[in-house]
């Protein structure tokens, strides 16, 4: 949906876009190819109506294999217990929680693109928001899987919800960050799904109108909710879309804040830090944008969407990566400063151990992937060359995974008593579950790209003639 300029609630928002347009004297077009409305309809929807190409089937078979590996590993975990993992005392959280935070963080870029950029009236979001929101939903699904299997008895996961139960007046502990997490992640998933679906209703109506088979017509008739493009409905719809964007913006910040509180409210040196909420939120946006870039660069190539997802989109996202990457880098520095300034010997030890201890390889992988390598994005040629962006985005993904691993494992593997010191290495089962989560993510994403319109056609049509006035 095109944000309207004349009702701009944020007067500075237009300015941001103007600077982006004029700042460097090289305005790249939002949508290339000088398309007509019906051309957009044809190009966006025809991909959902024909047989997927061979490369799609190949990609699906790879991701299904990974998914199957994950299903096998989870079956092992559930039937034999989490003793199949490499967890020990004192490293009680490791691969599972690392992957949980990693996937939640990835989800955040989708909401940022769909909600925050909408509020800031960044028109370039229109052609990537649908796919980015889908990415959010699938990433949150992957994330939610890890705490549930970490419970050991996942069939009792519903115990984490407050419901009148058969165990007397027994309720969940509302003062625990782990319970806040349950509420934050599930609210985030439900609201993201609603936002995604609501944004898709006009496009589903187009699919209904184009449907030839009876079944397809019936299915899309149900999901398009009788949409007929009425302006009275559009008017209310836009109001609700704006409200949902406004609600999602603090929501996405709250989610990673609460995830960081899982750590920050404990008294473990290395976790007990007030910098965690902003540090985690910035890290989430950083990793999420990297994942959006990774996915979009593949998708635009494989699905011939180069005219919709243009260099301008890619360039804008690399700028977000530089900004958030530097916030994350500053947070690394601040953590060290605070450890020194606190005068607490345990706190100091944890950070010295991070940089120079047995997990120093993880720490320095994190620093180089997250802080040093993204600096290449200062060069415009890197920002506008898809394959270079792709490689850098992979580095950021790896770096951000290591960030969570470093925070969790290096803080836990050295207890107060040297007699309780431990080391951690994942078992094959843990690695298989991690690979399986990628399988789940890519399987869902690949099916999405062929089942539903990857580009929000109704929004793209709204910005097609943007350059004319």
């Amino acid at each position: 949906m095109a944000p309207d300029d004349h009702t701009s609630a944020l007067s500075g928002a237009g300015l941001i876009e103007d600077q982006q347009d004029r700042g460097y004297g090289h305005v790249l077009p939002l949508i290339e190819g000088d398309k007509s409305y019906s051309q957009v309809t044809e190009e966006v929807f025809s991909t959902t109506e024909r047989m997927p190409p061979l490369k799609w089937w190949l990609a699906l078979s790879v991701s299904l294999s990974l998914l199957l590996l994950g299903v096998w590993a989870i079956t092992q975990t559930v039937t034999r217990g989490i003793g199949t993992w490499g967890l020990n005392r004192t490293v009680g959280w490791a691969f599972d929680i690392t992957n949980f935070v990693f996937w939640v963080g990835i989800g955040h870029a989708g909401t940022l693109i769909s909600a925050i950029l909408f509020l800031f009236r960044q028109r370039w979001r229109t052609s990537i928001n649908r796919a980015a929101e889908a990415m959010t939903i699938f990433a949150v699904m992957c994330a939610g899987m890890f705490p549930i299997i970490h419970m050991g008895r996942p069939w009792l996961a519903f115990w984490a919800t407050p419901y009148p139960n058969t165990r007397g007046p027994l309720w969940v502990n509302f003062k625990s960050p782990l319970l806040w997490d349950v509420f934050a992640i599930s609210t985030y998933f439900i609201i993201s799904l609603t936002f995604w679906y609501l944004g898709m209703v006009p496009d589903l109506a187009t699919m209904r109108d184009r449907a030839r088979s009876k079944l397809r017509k019936a299915v899309f008739s149900v999901f398009s909710l009788g949409w007929n493009g009425s302006n009275r409905t559009w008017s209310r719809y836009e109001t609700v879309y704006m409200l949902l964007a406004g609600l999602s913006t603090p929501l996405v910040i709250s989610v990673h804040t609460i995830v960081s509180m899982d750590f920050a409210t404990s008294v473990i040196p290395g976790w007990h830090a007030t910098i965690f909420p902003p540090y985690f939120v910035a890290g989430a946006v950083f990793s999420g944008f990297a994942m959006v870039l990774t996915l979009m660069i593949i998708a635009r190539k494989v699905m011939d969407l180069e005219e919709y997802i243009t260099l301008r989109h890619l360039e804008a996202m690399t700028k977000v990566i530089i900004a958030t990457g530097m916030i994350v880098g500053m947070a690394y520095g601040t953590e060290f400063f605070m450890a020194w300034y606190s005068g607490n010997s345990f706190e100091r030890y944890v950070f010295i151990n991070r940089a120079l201890g047995p997990f120093k390889w993880a720490y320095w992988s994190m620093v180089s992937c997250n802080v040093i390598i993204p600096q290449l994005f200062w060069i415009r040629r890197v920002r506008t060359t898809p394959w270079m962006i792709f490689i850098l985005s992979i580095f950021v993904n790896i770096g951000m995974w290591f960030e969570r691993f470093v925070i969790i494992v290096t803080s836990l593997h050295r207890d107060y008593l040297p007699s309780s010191w431990a080391m951690y290495s994942p078992t094959f089962i843990e690695v298989a579950i991690f690979l399986g989560s990628f399988g789940l993510f890519f399987t869902c994403f690949l099916i999405f790209t062929r089942l539903l319109p990857v580009i929000a056609a109704s929004e793209v049509k709204g910005v097609l003639k943007h350059g004319e006035h």
Binding site: T41, A184, T206, V222, N231, P250, S458
Partner: protein, 398 residues
């Protein structure tokens, strides 16, 4: 909208290729006094609300109301469960710890506000699964910008067509009533089944809430999965399919040391062992007042019923009943026994009917009883033996 004659359509639609043209046409129609019913476009056309004279939506109020409802539910549930239904102090925080309730309250506020406003949108706009959507123009969701309006009384359709063509209309068409969707209302015929189903929700919610208000915690609950309440391992007193004796609990192997601090007693039952105990064991306790009174207590509880309160069988229950008389503890035979031997009898039982009390009376208490028996013997020394008491046979032990 007045009476509608199906034979003579009073409504028409015109389609345009660009949103700007549609906007101009709507403005013109309004200026000429036509009633514009609605416009239908593939994306929202800005300025159309003003051109059609639509007021700003009141949906933000619904959003606020639902958000406040979510906040109230969240705070209510958290305060009630944490402070009233299950008051448990966690982490030294007060029962009503408002700062700790902020995250969940925030999440539920957002959840209810978001879902509530979307539900309200669906209701007020009549958005629900529909299998028949009026095909006003096939390009409405593709590339056409359509206006539907009523023909002004007395106006000529031909003139209208010409005017719209001049404004850039690609085509114009008269509409029958069913081509145009009726103004959405909550309860039109198509929505009846849905409304019928939804109307059960309050009743179901009330029925679900009733058991909450009047719970009986003494009643055994029904669970579909006992989970951690049912251990996987065999219980101590369960039968066992393959262990000796068919039960889980087995006699500990020889030499097993109990874990509660006791040292093993290296004697067994029988005459020889009793004599050995008499030779080897010495009372480890001194005859203090504390040991004496404890010994008295234990003696009166565990021994006096048979041996009599004073150890002379006078108040013995089994003697009074005419059953086998136990040994007279104050008799010289017992008096001359070493402490270890009396201790052995107390532990493993006597040669007649007496059973060992070693597993009922603690070792320390048995030694205290020995101390107390010595005291009884001292007290009874001047008295002659009661005539009724049978003299212990040779070698008969108490």
């Amino acid at each position: 909208m007045g009476s509608i004659d199906r034979m003579a359509p009073t409504r028409f639609r015109a389609s345009f290729a660009e949103p700007g043209l549609l906007l101009e046409a709507v403005k013109r129609l309004k200026a000429d006094g036509y009633h514009v019913i609605d416009t239908y476009t593939p994306f929202p056309v800005h300025g159309m609300d003003e051109a059609m004279g639509l007021k700003p939506s009141r949906l933000p109020r619904a959003c606020l109301a639902f958000g406040l409802l979510g906040l109230a539910i969240a705070l209510g549930v958290q305060i009630w469960t944490s402070a009233y239904d299950y008051p448990l102090i966690v982490g030294g925080k007060p029962l009503v710890a408002l700062p700790a309730f902020v995250p969940v309250s925030f999440e539920l506020t957002v959840l209810m506000a978001g879902l509530g406003v979307v539900a309200t949108l669906f209701v007020v706009s009549g958005m629900r699964p529909k299998f028949k959507v009026p095909d006003l123009h096939p390009g409405v969701n593709d590339d056409r910008f359509v206006v539907a309006a009523e023909i002004r009384a007395g106006a000529s359709y031909a003139e209208l067509q010409a005017m719209l063509a001049g404004l850039g209309a690609l085509d114009t068409e008269l509409l029958t009533v069913d081509r145009l969707e009726k103004d959405s209302s909550l309860l039109d015929r198509e929505a009846t089944p849905l409304a019928f189903i939804l109307s059960f929700i309050p009743a179901v919610l009330v029925l679900m809430a009733l058991p909450l208000l009047n719970r009986d915690y003494l009643q055994r609950n029904i669970t579909w999965d006992g989970g951690m309440m049912v251990p996987v391992a065999y219980q101590s007193f369960d039968p066992h399919p393959s262990l000796p004796g068919g039960q889980v609990l087995q006699t500990p192997p020889k030499g097993t040391v109990p874990r509660n601090g006791l040292v093993p007693l290296p004697y067994g039952p029988g005459q020889a062992e009793a004599e050995r105990a008499g030779r080897e064991l010495k009372n480890p306790l001194l005859p203090t007042q504390d040991h004496f009174s404890r010994g008295k207590l234990v003696y009166e509880r565990s021994c006096a019923a048979c041996h009599g309160k004073d150890g002379d069988n006078n108040s013995s229950v089994i003697v009074a009943k005419g059953l086998l008389a136990p040994a007279v503890l104050v008799a010289p035979v017992v008096k001359n026994m070493p402490d270890g031997r009396i201790f052995h009898v107390a532990t493993f039982g006597g040669p007649q009917k007496m059973k060992g009390l070693g597993d009922l009376i603690s070792r320390e208490d048995r030694w205290k009883v020995v101390l107390y028996i010595r005291e009884l013997q001292k007290a009874a020394a001047p008295k002659p033996l009661p005539a009724s008491a049978p003299a212990p046979g040779p070698g008969v032990q108490p």
